[in-house]
């Protein structure tokens, strides 16, 4: 997964922030109001002193106090508006970011998941997004407030004495050098932190997902030993970042002292000449001292900004991962059923080395076909092409005459489904697991699907029936029961074509029989393409397709192929011999 360029990050940020622009503007306005109130305070005090105290006027004092009271009562409302608008804008932005990251995740090709580890992806959608909270909720708004304060204070300085203001610029080189040196390294160190976070979480995820094996082989210590350097690396990465951070704001007091020293030296000279009053000098110095307060907050938030930018870059990197399967703008619904035709289909994960080579085949509606061949012959890859996990580099796949690439994705997912070997369960109830792809399905639909495959009675016997919590990874359901859940999902989906990656595991005969009859029930009246690992399955199919090195080498019924006495016949003979040897 590449790190996204700043330009790309900004493009996505603009897109996601568009709906909350108004809220941000409102928060910005609230900040401006509360900043102005803050700045008005000293002005009122000066008025009270000059017009009230010095002239012994209670009236002026009362007026100043009354105005102050008025402003003090407005301020809480401005602060409240700022908090509410900024939080609402920021959280909506983060919500949109999380959702688009998940939307992206579900659309990425399988190959992506074979390369990226689960822990890293979880970290992108949780830890990285979460570390943006400060940036989107506070930093943006606070930067506006401090910037306003800086500008107004500088204006006051210029108003009081342009000459002294020019002298104060002596601090500028220090600020420029320190912020340049910060920004020079900030991107690197903050990206490093996000990387270390992802690595740590990946180690945690893997250790926990495999915790049973770890414990069974008492490798707790070794697992920790391998995790700890990563956890430590995260601490080190933060340490590096802290050393980069201090370049930014530690120099501020120095810059402030330098500016004050030079201003006072010049002011002393000017005062001796009589070209400046002591009142002006005092006011100038006070404003100069005040100026560094917003500058230091500004830089602090700038640091937060860089940190957020790094995290955002990581999430956007995920959003930008190439995604092969997209719906065309003019996509059409796939027909309810029809023949699945492959014409000259060629595909390789690396285009230069095709794994499936020039395959032309036709699966009739309702036909049961077995794909047979040695490991690496291209059966599984062909299965992935049939369900459009990938698009072929050459050739076309059509269902009922419609190219799969022209079909809307929802209709594609409804018509053609794949049943993988393992029956993965999500936490939740059994019924929820069955309706995984159809969350709107009613309880009756779920029961009907389970009854169709003959598994309703079995699952109703569970302690809470279909509402039984399957718990993490379904460790309480056996492999066979998990397969039954997978088949029930298919029955509920009611597709036209099923691509079945046959499970190789041997179940106990009773469960095996249940799984087989469930499969038979769900296969009824649908086209089924089985990636067959057992030739007994091929024997039962209407037709057998034999693959070798990515090519289709034989297509006919089992009997015909055995008759032919060629490749399939040899496979069959060796299967029979194997079974005999297995004593089954």
């Amino acid at each position: 997964m590449e790190r996204a360029s700043t330009k790309t990050v900004l493009r996505h940020t603009r897109r996601l922030a568009r709906p909350v622009r108004g809220r941000y503007a409102a928060a910005g306005a609230a900040v401006v109001i509360s900043t102005l109130i803050t700045l008005a305070g000293p002005a009122l005090v000066r008025y009270a002193v000059d017009a009230g105290i010095k002239k012994h006027s209670y009236h002026a004092l009362d007026v100043a106090a009354l105005v102050f009271l008025g402003l003090a009562l407005v301020k809480p409302f401005a602060v409240r508006a700022q908090v509410l608008f900024a939080a609402s804008a920021g959280e909506r932005f983060l919500d949109a970011l999380r959702r688009s990251a998940f939307d992206k995740l579900k659309d990425l090709p399988l190959g992506f998941f074979e390369q990226e580890r689960a822990g890293l992806l979880v970290s992108r959608l949780t830890s990285d997004v979460q570390s943006l909270t400060e940036l989107v909720r506070e930093a943006l708004v606070e930067i506006v407030g401090s910037a306003l304060q800086i500008v107004l204070t500088i204006a006051a300085l210029l108003f009081l004495s342009p000459k002294l203001a020019a002298v104060a610029l002596v601090a500028l080189p220090i600020l420029i050098v320190s912020s340049w040196s910060f920004h020079h390294s900030a991107g690197r160190v903050y990206h490093a932190i996000r990387d270390r976070v992802a690595e740590t979480l990946t180690a945690v995820q893997e250790g926990l997902a495999g915790v049973r094996v770890v414990q069974a082989f008492r490798r707790e210590k070794r697992t920790l030993d391998r995790y700890e350097p990563r956890s430590q690396a995260q601490v080190t990465a933060w340490r590096r970042a802290s050393f980069v951070n201090i370049r930014l704001f530690a120099f501020l007091p120095l810059a402030q002292a330098t500016a004050l020293i030079v201003v006072l030296l010049v002011a002393a000279q000017m005062y001796r000449n009589g070209s400046v009053s002591i009142g002006t000098v005092t006011a100038f110095v006070l404003y100069l001292v005040q100026l560094f307060d917003p500058i230091s907050r500004f830089t602090e938030w700038l640091g937060e900004f860089r940190q957020g930018l790094a995290a955002l870059g990581k999430v956007v990197g995920l959003l930008e991962a190439p995604n092969a399967i997209v719906e065309r703008p003019d996509a059409v619904e796939l027909p309810l059923e029809g023949a699945l035709d492959l014409q000259g289909v060629t595909f390789g994960y690396d285009a230069a080395r095709p794994v499936v080579h020039d395959v032309t085949l036709s699966f009739a509606a309702g036909e049961h076909v077995a794909l047979v061949g040695a490991t690496g012959a291209g059966k599984s890859t062909l299965g992935k092409l049939l369900t459009r996990q990938y698009d072929p580099q050459k050739g076309t796949l059509r269902l009922g005459g419609v190219d799969l690439r022209d079909a809307t994705l929802p209709s594609l997912h409804r018509r053609i489904v794949m049943l993988p070997q393992e029956g993965h369960l999500f936490s939740g109830t059994l019924a929820d697991n069955v309706r995984l792809a159809h969350p709107d399905a009613s309880d009756d639909d779920v029961r009907r699907a389970l009854r169709t495959i003959g598994a309703l009675d079995r699952f109703e016997l569970l302690p809470d029936g279909l509402e039984t919590d399957v718990q993490t990874r379904g460790l309480r359901l056996s492999a066979g029961e998990r397969q039954l859940v997978g088949i029930a999902r298919i029955a509920l989906a009611d597709p036209a074509v099923i691509v079945l990656d046959e499970a190789t595991s041997s179940l106990d005969p009773a469960t095996e029989a249940a799984v087989e009859s469930a499969l038979a029930a769900v296969a009824e009246g649908r086209a089924v393409v089985t990636i067959a690992h057992r030739l007994s399955t091929a024997e039962r199919a209407d037709r057998v397709v034999v693959m070798e090195h990515g090519k289709v080498v034989e297509v006919a019924s089992h009997d015909e192929l055995v008759e032919q006495g060629d490749r399939y016949a040899r496979l069959w003979a060796s299967w029979q011999a194997g079974l005999a040897a297995a004593g089954a």
Partner: protein, 557 residues
């Protein structure tokens, strides 16, 4: 912690001192037209600037250091503890949930550590300013300081709600993380079924919950923060009005009035920050409640206080005595089971799905403890032995093979890290894995995917068997460990299995008659008890139940 507090304090002192240096430079240098004094005070100002810079830098490095170390400590503790928690805990709490606690919740606690140095500095500032104000004019000072206790009251009034709402927010994060983790690990099912859209809708719902709960907290902020902003302003107002009147009436000097103003203004920022710290603290408490929930979960399996020793090469006689066991107690899986396997003997355990065969396997390796009854290895109750010793003596091969992101070699070596390459390769050869490993791109150095994606189920199982062979245990438990190995290939490793089983106590859970036939004896498990025992041949002849179980009824009939 001391370094953080000390540097925070120094920084605060320097920050407070700087304006004083400016004041002296103006009074004694500029106004007095004394160039010498001016230079001295400006020199002092520069020194204070340098101190502020250094102390500020040290303070920051300490703060970040504290934060990241605390983050790491919490994370390390959760991970280490989770690895100690037994299987029944992990049956309930998934990796996504624990990851969320180890990262997101840990972060909240870390934030608190980050702020400790600053906070101490701010508290001292408030105290110092309060003392100075009281010295200048105690009556006015009392009026000005009234907001301080009010802020504390407001803070405590709100803090509990922060605590509860943070817990709810973190819970929502945990649920979002769980869904991501489950979707990624089950991506094949998700893709095959086109379940991406409904899952995205579910994620959008959970993400929305996170947002809603974060905004619940923001609504507290929106009540609390304005209050914190208002109270110091009221203090300033009091100074302006009451103080101003006292100056006019001659009870207070103008200088003191100006000083009062300056000092009260110095309170604004620290009080604002201290108010925020209350929320930081409460959020950290909310998060740490979730962290403690993990850390305080007691492993059901406890190490005995005075463990007995188990010899390195114990013979491995196994006995289960009236063992009762039911997951969570809702259905009794084992109901007074008695089973005995002599040292060196092999026993096949046969039974229908759900009959509790895997439970027996888990009990032997002490992944669980029975609710009543005993599990004995060579006459010792496993609960009286060191957990490590039991698991060294008993190697368990699961049906579902978990491969770690590492080379094939390291995955096999998992059980015995000190094993040499030759031993690893011999084990792979025995497990019938050598051939396909040789065909992998980098042979034994090929890195396997997280879930062993690039290998077939049968290949993964053969690596797991190699793992167990290398472990060279006294008791070997094969829990459906060859189920995914192609029936036509299983005979290839059957010879290997019988070599491995030779003279080693072995419990085999299998369905294929040929594999079962490898065992010296067969026990049939039904209704939580052993209902029949004998050799494969005997049972085939005498037991219709056994023939039905193996689906050999017709063959035998």
């Amino acid at each position: 912690m001391i370094g953080a507090a000390a540097s925070g304090l120094l920084w605060q002192v320097a920050a407070v001192a700087a304006p004083l240096m400016v004041k002296y430079a103006i009074d004694h240098g500029v106004l007095a037209r004394d160039r010498h004094a001016l230079l001295i005070w400006l020199g002092a100002l520069f020194a204070v600037g340098l101190l502020e810079m250094t102390a500020g830098a040290v303070r920051h490095v300490y703060a970040i250091g504290n934060r990241s170390r605390s983050d790491a400590r919490v994370r390390d503790a959760i991970f280490a503890h989770a690895l100690r928690l037994d299987a029944s805990y992990h049956d309930r709490v998934g990796p996504g949930e624990l990851m969320s606690r180890a990262s997101s919740d840990a972060e909240h606690v870390a934030r608190l550590m980050d702020s400790i140095g600053h906070t101490i500095g701010y508290v001292l500032t408030v105290v110092a300013v309060a003392v100075v104000l009281l010295l200048i004019d105690w009556q006015l000072a009392l009026v000005v300081l009234i907001p301080l206790p009010l802020i504390s009251i407001a803070a405590w009034a709100y803090s509990r709600r922060y605590h509860a709402r943070t817990e709810r927010l973190q819970e929502a994060w945990g649920e979002a993380a769980t869904l991501v983790e489950e979707t990624v690990t089950g991506i094949r099912v998700v893709k095959g079924l086109g379940a991406g859209d409904p899952l995205a809708a579910e994620f959008a719902r959970r993400s929305g919950t996170v947002m809603g709960r974060a905004l619940d907290i923001a609504r507290l902020d929106a009540l609390f923060m304005p209050m914190i902003e208002l109270l110091p302003l009221l203090g300033l107002l009091a100074v302006l009005w009451l103080g101003g009147r006292r100056v006019v009436s001659g009870d207070l000097s103008l200088g003191s009035f100006v000083a009062f103003n300056a000092y009260v203004a110095m309170l604004v920022w620290p009080m604002r920050v201290l108010g925020q710290r209350v929320t930081t603290l409460q959020k950290a408490l909310g998060a740490s409640a979730r962290i403690s929930e993990v850390l305080e979960a007691e492993p059901q399996l406890r190490e005995p206080r005075h463990p007995k020793d188990l010899e390195e090469r114990t013979p491995g006689a196994v006995r289960l005595e009236s063992v009762r066991f039911g997951h969570d107690g809702d259905r009794s899986v084992l109901d007074g089971l008695d089973l005995e396997v002599a040292a060196g003997e092999s026993l096949a355990l046969v039974g229908a799905t759900g009959s509790g065969k895997s439970t027996v396997a888990g009990l032997l390796a002490r992944l669980y403890d029975p609710e009543s009854g005993r599990v004995l290895i060579d006459g010792h109750d496993v609960r009286e032995l060191r957990l490590g010793d039991v698991r060294r003596a008993v190697a368990l091969v699961f049906e579902e093979t978990f491969l770690f992101t590492d080379t094939v070699r390291e995955n096999i070596r998992f059980a015995r890290p000190d094993a040499g390459d030759v031993d690893v390769e011999r084990a792979a050869d025995l497990a019938g894995a050598a051939e396909f490993i040789a065909d992998l791109p980098d042979g034994y150095d090929t890195v396997l995917g997280e879930r062993g994606f690039s290998l077939s189920g049968g290949q993964r199982q053969r690596i797991a068997i190699a793992r167990a062979i290398l472990a060279d245990p006294s008791v070997l438990v094969l829990d459906d460990a060859t189920s995914a190995v192609d029936a036509t290939k299983e005979h290839e490793i059957r010879a290997a299995l019988s070599t491995v089983m030779q003279g080693r106590t072995t419990l085999v859970i299998a369905h294929r008659p040929a594999t079962i036939a490898l065992a010296d004896r067969v026990a049939v498990l039904e209704g939580g008890r052993i209902v029949e025992q004998g050799t494969h041949g005997e049972l085939l002849r005498s037991s219709p139940r056994y023939r039905t179980l193996l689906a050999l009824e017709e063959a035998a009939a």
